[in-house]
Amino acid sequence: MGTRERGRATVPVALNTELEKETPVITPVKSTRPLLTMRSVSKNFSNGTQALSDVSLTVHAGEFVSLLGPSGCGKSTALRIIAGLGGVSSGEVDWPSSQIGARGTPEGDISFVFQEPTLLPWRTVVDNVYLPLQLARVSRKDAMPRIEEALATVGLTDFGKAYPRELSGGMKMRVSIARAMVTKPKLLLMDEPFAALDEITRQKLNEDVLGLWRNTGVSVIFVTHSVFESAYLSSRIVVMKARPGRIHEDFAVNEGVDRDGEFRTSENYRRTCERVSHSLAGAMHDAGGH
């Protein structure tokens, strides 16, 4: 319970925002500090499905890792295991630099954005964003500046009093992201968060997530089955293949590339897409092609 507060609440929020405003866009320096390590993780479900087989993966602080692969290759399972939702059959997940909570994960350091916005329909936007802090027993009054800050980062300052049903799909997803960011996590897990949205909304949200990652220094593991999304967002792409789920290829992308407004039409982007497509095709071929 209390672990989440330690070393977080002590950072004055106002100071944080000041820093963010004054610092120009910075691409995080590639860190070599491991945030989490999966060692030979396998996962079998009781119905006999082998969802993951011998997966080893180290994610460093500040990375933006995309997990890419055909559906059923175990992306969601991997993400859930990292989040501590459902255990492993063998292997382990290690958090070298975090305080471990009761469930074997650093609870306050991880946030999850699901494919659905998963907002509580009976709560207003503000109270939805408040939820993680409320569960950590932060009073609403103390939480308010952090809630407002989180809503500001996703551009929903004016919608605090709205109920989820009054928002569009894209706005609900923004609330979901604000809720994830309000705890100032070290690691943000996203499971195909924009798969259900239209292309235009999706591109806008991709830009926002990229901005969030740059400005906050949070590490992101982003599950997607879209080549373009992973090529645009990632600093590293892990391509997986199915039956059983395992890692096909793991490579860095966009190193030293400035992903500004022009990026999507640039030669760099095209090359990254090609590189990713090629790898994904390989993963599908190896898995029996489908």
Partner: protein
Amino acid sequence: MLSDNGLFSRDRVLQIAIPVGVVLAMHVAWYIVVRATNTPAYILPDPIMVLQALVKDWSILWPAFLVTTKITFLSLGLALIGGSAFAIFLVQSRWIELAFYPIAVVLQVTPIIAIAPLILIYAPTTEVALLVCAFLVAFFPILSNLVQGLKSVDHNHLNLFELYGANRLQTLWYLQIPAAQPYFMTGLKIGGGLSLIAAVVAEFSAGSSGVGSGLAFRLLEAQFRLNIPRLFAALFMLSALGVAIFALTSFISWLVLHRWHESSLKREN
């Protein structure tokens, strides 16, 4: 000017005028039939006689009305508390549910009113007996609806709560209970109607008399004495009570749900 959506819009006026008109027309028809056929009052009184009986016997009917109202609301209140507490207890573990739910089901499918004579033997006073009967009848729809509501929480929401390290009490309070509200309201509406029916039927079988009697007893009494206008007056008061309970439970439901739940939303297209 009659606007499309103002307080006195054409739609709104018609919405009230049409049902009131139909009811009035039925009373007029009733009056004409009774008068035309010269039906004696001890078989079918006309509406004006019923109204007169209501005024004349007010000193008998009003205390009876209060007794029935008290039993109905008290039993409903107890059923709400008891049903909610038991529902929350049941969903705490699979084992508890396995052990107790069958008993709840057996009691639910048994026509509770059939054990009214038994309750009358054990209960210290008639009033307590009526209360117990009405309680038992209202209890089960509230229980079963709430159990279903507490159990039908979205799995993604449960994951979310687990992720943020919510304990059992927090999950119950911030997730399960709010998510079960629509189900609870259904149980409340059903239970409200049933508690009145049970209060009346139980009093029929109790056959008590004297000062503490409710409307059901006054109704039977009027029948024995062939005072049919008073019987109709008592009936009218019972149905007014039923309408009031329905309106009250519907209003509570609207109050709690209208901001977020689909069932209370106006379609905006």
